[in-house]
C-alpha cells in the first residue's frame, strides 16, 4: 500500500465525435492522481461547453472515493455548462464500488 511513493499509472485520451466528446480513461485512480483526473475531465467539458461528454471506463481497473468525487464534480460542472456527462462501460471492481456508494445510476444516466 505504498501509495505515496508509487502514484498509480493512469492515462486518458480525448476524441471529439460528431455529437459528443469521448474521454477514454485507463489505469487506477485515487488520491495521488485526483488533480490530474479533475483537469482532464473539466478541461474537456469546458473546451466545448454543452457538448455531451462520455467517459469510457472500460480500462479503469481501480477507483477510490477520491476518484468518485472527481466524477461527481465533473458531472456537476457539465450540468452547469448545460451539457451532459455520462460514464460508459464501467465493469468489475469499478462498477461495484460505484454501486456501493449508489452513484452508478446517477453517473450513467446522462443527466
Amino acid at each position: 500500500m505504498d501509495r505515496a511513493t508509487n502514484p498509480p499509472q493512469a492515462t486518458h485520451e480525448v476524441e471529439v465525435l460528431d455529437n459528443s466528446v469521448r474521454i477514454t480513461l485507463a489505469g487506477e485512480f485515487d488520491l495521488a492522481n485526483e488533480q490530474a483526473l479533475t483537469s482532464w475531465l473539466v478541461d474537456a467539458i469546458k473546451a466545448d461547453p454543452g457538448r455531451p461528454v462520455e467517459v469510457d471506463m472500460h480500462d479503469v481497473g481501480f477507483i477510490d472515493s477520491s476518484g468518485i468525487r472527481v466524477l461527481l464534480q465533473a458531472h456537476a460542472v457539465a450540468a452547469q455548462h448545460g451539457g451532459t456527462f455520462r460514464l460508459t462501460r464501467a465493469s468489475g471492481a469499478v462498477r461495484e464500488v460505484l454501486e456501493i456508494v449508489a452513484v452508478y445510476d446517477h453517473l450513467t444516466a446522462g443527466g
Binding site: 500500500m1 461527481l72 456508494v101 449508489a102
Partner: protein
Amino acid sequence: MTDLPATTILVVDDRAPKRYLLKNWLTRAGFTVHEAVDGHDALEKVQQRPYDMIVLDIKLPDMSGLEVCQRIKADPATTSTPVVHVSAHAVDAADRTLGLVGGADAYLVEPIDPHELVATVQAVLRYYQARRKAERLADGLAGLAETTLAVTMARDFTELLGQAAAGAARLFGTPAAVATEADTGWALALADTSGDVTVTGWEPPAEDVPVGSYRLTGRAAHWQLPAGWADTGSVTVTTARFRAARPSLYLFTGEVADEDHTGLLTQLSQALGAAAEAQRAQDQDHQIAIMLQRSLLPRHLPTVDRIGLAVRYEPASPQAEIGGDFYELSVLDDKLLIAIGDVVGHSLHAATVMAEIRHALRAYAIEGHTPGRIVSLIDELMVRLLPGEMATLCLLTLDPRTGHARLANAGHLPPLLIVDGKVSEIWHRAPLLGINHPRSEDLEFVIPEGGTLLLYTDGLIERRDITVRDGIADLSRIAGTVDDDLDVYCDRLLQQLTNPPHADDVAVVAVRRL
C-alpha cells in the same frame, strides 16, 4: 612530502646496473624501491599491489615503455599512478612529447643526475598527493550529499537511521552506527561495510551531550553497541545536538583520525541531526492531527441498558495523511443513535468536515427526525455550505427494548447483522452525501436478543488486490463468531483484516443486544 612513510616506487629497466643505480639513489632519498625487469613483469607487478610511482625505461626488450605506460594509464585501477620515463638514448623533443602525450608525468634523459631524479620524483608525488586529497574530498562531499538526500527523503525514523548508517559506512569504509531518539524511543541503526543494516533499540549513555557538534575516540565497549560491532577496537563518536532541550544524534564509525575525514564526520553528523529534527517535527504534526481528529469524535460511549457497545478507531500510519472516518453513538430519548461515516479525502481538512457533519447529524437527530430525513438534511447542508465535499454515512436508530432498528444509508458499506453465527449484509442503497440526490425510504429491521450489528469503514476491507465485495465476504467469514467481549471481537477483526501500519483510517462499531 617525501617524508611520508613507505612511499613505494617500482623501477622498470632491463639492465641490472641501471636498476641498481636508480634503486640506490631513490633508496637514499627515503623511498622503498621494487624492481621489474621488463614490460610484462612491470604490468604484472602493478596488478599485485599499488605503487606510489613507476620509474619506467623507454626501451624494454619485450615492449616499449610508451606502451607499458599507456596500459597502466588505461586501467582504472592504476590510472592515477604517476609514471616518470627515463631514456638511455639521446632523444629529441618529438620523442619526449610522445611520452608525455602517452600519459607520462615526466621525462628524464640520460645521463641522469641523481638530484634531478629525486627532485622530479618528489615534484610529481607532490602533485599526485594534492590530487588524491582533492579526489578524496570530492568523493567525500559527493557521498555526503547522497546520504543527506537519502535521509531527507526517508519516510520514517527506521528508514532515516538505516540510510544514515549505510551512508556513513560507505563514506568512511568502516562499520557505522547512527542513534537518536525516534518516535518510539531511542533507536540505533548499524550498517556493516557491505551495506547490511539492522535497527535496534538503544540505551544512550548517562553523560550529557553538549550542544553543538563534538567528536571523541574511545573504547567501543563503553557505548553498548549491538552485537555485530567489533567491540574490541576503538570507535570514533561524533555527536550533533542543536538545542539543550532536543535529543542528540550519535554517529559511530571505526576510528577516524585524518583531518579530511574528521571534517566530513562533523558535516555528516550535522546533516543527520537536522534530518532527525525534521522527522521529529513531522511526526509531531501527525500526532497533533490525530489528537485533533480524536477530539472531534465521541469522548465516551453511552451506557444503555441491555446493549453492549464497542468501538475502535485506528488512525492511518504516520506515513499516511489522516482521514475523515467518524462514528457517533448517543442516546436520544429512549433510542440509541448509531452512525458511521467517511469523508472523502485525507487531510486535516477532511477531519474538520467530518466534525461539521457529525455535529449537524446530532443537531438534526435531537429535533426528532427519522434517519432518512436526517441524511437528506445533511445532504442539503453539504451542497449549500460545504460544496465539493463528499461523504458516506450510515445512520440508524435502535430501540434497545424491542431491537427495532430504522436505517438510512448514504453510499456507505453495508452493516453486518450477526445472529446465531449467521451473517447478513444490511443493504440500503442511496447515493453518498454531497450531490443532493433523492433517497429511498428508511429500512426497518429487528436486531434480536443476542444479535450483533457491525458497522465499519472501508479501511477494514479495502485492499488493492481484491474487490470491495470480496473484502466484505472476507469480513463476513470471520465476523460470524462474536466473542463474548465485544472489545476482543473488534480487536480480532482489526488484527485479522488490517496489516499494520494502516494505509487508511479504520473505524469499527459493534452493537449487541444483550
